[in-house]
Amino acid sequence: MHFGPHLLLAALEGLVTSAVLALTALGLSLVFGVMRVVNVAHGEFFMLGAVLAWAVSTAISGHPAVGFVAALVIAPLLVGLVALVAERLVLRRLNYNPEGTIVATIGMLYIIQQLALTFYGPEARPVEPPFSYRILLPWFGYSGYKLSVVAASAILLVITWLVLTRTRIGLIMRATQYDRETAQAFGIPVERVYAGVFAVGAMLAAIAAVLIVPISQAHYLMGQDPLLLSFIVVIIGGLGSLRGTVVAAILIGLSDGIISMFFSPTLAKIIATLVVAMVLVFRPQGLFGTTPR
Amino acid sequence: MTPLLTTKGLSRHFGGLRAVDGVDFTLMPGEIRAIIGPNGAGKTTFVSLLSGRIRPSSGMVVFDGADITAMPAYKRVRLGVAYTFQITSVFANLTAFDNVALPVQRTLTDGRTKGQVRSGVMAALERTGLAERAGTLAGQLSYGHQRLLEVAMGLALKPRLLILDEPTQGLADSEIDNFITLVREIARDAAVLLIEHNMPVVMQLAGRITVFNSGKILAEGTPGEIRANAEVQDAYLGAAHG
């Protein structure tokens, strides 16, 4: 293959990474933006989504598409339920104190990871894609499923954006984000909003995971990289900014694919992490973010 | 005599709001100066600029002949500019003793005083009448005592200029009398700059009064002159005393 097609392939792969990353990071960003909670267990919600997707799709026989669609519905719902319970039992009792919630979500991370290891096991397991259509490009064939992941993610992002900007729910969320006390004084049920946001944030990660399992397999440690990358995206994109998150996800997803063509993956991670830490130190509002309130 | 403190064209804007707007101000050593003015006039912002808690948008601050405009707050404190907060902010979880020990040990390392921390702390607590409360957590003191502790901390810094932001707010009348005596005593070693709403206190203590309004100095003079000033009557005294 020549350089051009090679780059096209890398770009396509990068786009798939970006699509999944944008959804996952959006969940993290929503939770931080509205609740000011840094959810360290976010990657585990992602992992849980993938593992449950495997469980659901193996439990259902018949055409792979049936199992997949069932997984796409059931896994995120279950993950959302877990998040809801965690929010009720832990975060709310901590009164969403930023430092206390970090420690608590680290605890959740360990619990979810250990439970996955105990009940799901250390193996990596695949989920069959719902269809195996290949799109023939002049230089190579490309998985139609991968492209449909990009499309699905784009649709979900647009829906989220519409909900946030055009609906009453979005207005309520923004009001809560802006000032919790005032929102409460105006009769907004802040606790319900928080519970909802935390569940939706986890569900976005779970959906991203269900979309990705047919491509990469489900494994109990698979939450670590998405967590780190989501942090990177959210920090670069500016905490709590939807547009920044999407732009940063595309940037990181594409460069991740292209950089790892030239550098070792470890070196790529070192550079990326260092850059992000420096951004936080010297430009805490993110590269694209506006100045914080 | 050279002034202890001067400001030239000192301004601080918050967005479009000119909280302090081109203030030229002079304070002589040993003076007790009161700053009065309606709420939102920029008094707290002005003294915050003097203490270095916030940076000016423009203008300069000169203390004892040296330009301190760019100096960080903690260095100004070491030069002798002490500031007590309008909102009581003693260390609630530390004892009264430890609260005062912090400024006392600071001056010891500066070499401004010799001696032990303990004696310095007890001296400051005794002057403010808090000696018996040395072991009490500051957060458990009554509000009036917390205000006094705040003053004790300022005192313990051995300042050359002590800035007090509404120190009598929330004090009982009997406590106010003691407070007036205390400020007179302090003024033997240091200049005192006092933001105060309680007019009787101002009239008793201040040698001169500066009136702020909308970020600017509206008038300045002796208590008698200020009392007679019609503009001040309109802007402030009238409003405050109905």
Partner: protein
């Protein structure tokens, strides 16, 4: 600390040290080994506590200081053939230097950003260890041979692999750091650190350069954690990248929370408690992480002051 009579406080700490000394002669072999490990790691917890408990800075990256000591000592012995004392000093120096650099950067942030930044720097450190696997042994790690772990002083030589020598070396380090921490906490510097934790803005207005004080605390904390890491490498003869992973940044936080933040003896109690809980439960479950996770959540929810913190609050107000 309230109205502590110094004599009483020092007596308490010396008796703890004496008790640990006596335990060497009564503990069965297995527990003697476990205690040596616990004392070495309690030093890590004490270093963490200095920053988290007294200054109120919650770092999620202290594994990097521990492993700076671990590798600083381990690699100089392994590759350069340095003796034990020189290697120990090298380890501590590495940790202090790293802490200085990280402190200068991370202290520009505060709160949640400080937590994330320290976590990211630690991650970089961890990945660097993996990247330079040719020297560090990567995730396999390196084993330091018994022959390199002997201290020769004059005619006598001490073999760190001998259980009693190992126990006593760990105890010596632990005692020094415990007494140093106690002295710092009761000192003027300690008072300033607590003031910064309680209200940094106010502390500045009392004439303190709070950034310089915080930086000093970060370097001291980093050096103590590195001392723990260096001792661990030399006493137990193994260095590996897992000690640099996020988990080893979380563990000291857990130990300190459990024992009681801002108490001098809390770190020891927390480390001891956690080690024995895992040891006892390992009989019927391998779910080590589950215990860590549940403990973290229960602690922040119901027991934020930890064991010694709660005891101090109820009964022993004078505890430092």
């Amino acid at each position: 600390m309230r109205n502590a009579s110094p004599a009483k406080t020092y007596a308490l700490h010396i008796s703890v040290i004496a008790l640990l000394f006596a335990l060497n002669f009564v503990l069965p072999d297995y527990h003697q080994g476990l205690f040596a490990r616990i004392m070495a790691l309690a030093v890590f917890a004490m270093g963490y506590n200095l920053l988290f408990g007294y200054v109120g800075l919650l770092s999620l990256g202290h594994a990097m200081f521990f492993s700076a000591g671990l590798y600083g000592a381990g690699l100089t012995v392994y590759h350069l053939g340095w003796g034990v004392p020189e290697a120990f000093v090298a380890g501590v120096a590495c940790g202090a230097l790293l802490a200085l650099v990280i402190g200068l950067l991370a202290l520009r942030t505060s709160g949640v950003a400080f937590m994330i930044v320290t976590m990211m720097f630690a991650q970089v450190f961890y990945l660097l260890i993996l990247y330079f696997a040719a020297w560090t042994g990567g995730d396999q790690g390196l084993v330091i041979q018994q022959a390199s772990r002997v201290i020769a002083i004059g005619g006598a030589s001490f073999d760190l692999t001998d259980p009693t020598v190992r126990y006593m070396s760990a105890l010596a380090l632990f005692s020094i750091i415990l007494l140093v921490t106690l002295a710092v906490v009761c000192s003027r510097f300690g008072r300033v650190l607590v003031a910064i934790r309680e209200n940094e803005e106010r502390t500045k207005m009392l004439g303190y350069d709070t950034v310089a004080n915080k930086l000093t605390a970060v370097v001291a904390s980093g050096a103590i954690c590195a001392a723990s890491g260096a001792a661990y490498a030399l006493l137990f003869g193994y260095v590996g990248s897992s000690f640099a992973s996020v988990q080893y940044s979380i563990l000291p936080l857990l130990w300190v929370l459990l024992g009681g933040a801002a108490t001098t003896l809390g770190p020891l109690i927390g480390t001891l408690f956690m080690y024995y809980v895992t040891d006892i439960t390992s009989g019927f479950t391998s779910a080590y992480l589950l215990i860590v996770g549940v403990a973290l959540i229960l602690l922040v929810l119901f027991f934020p002051k930890g064991i010694l913190g709660s005891i101090r609050e109820r009964w022993l107000r004078w505890l430092p």
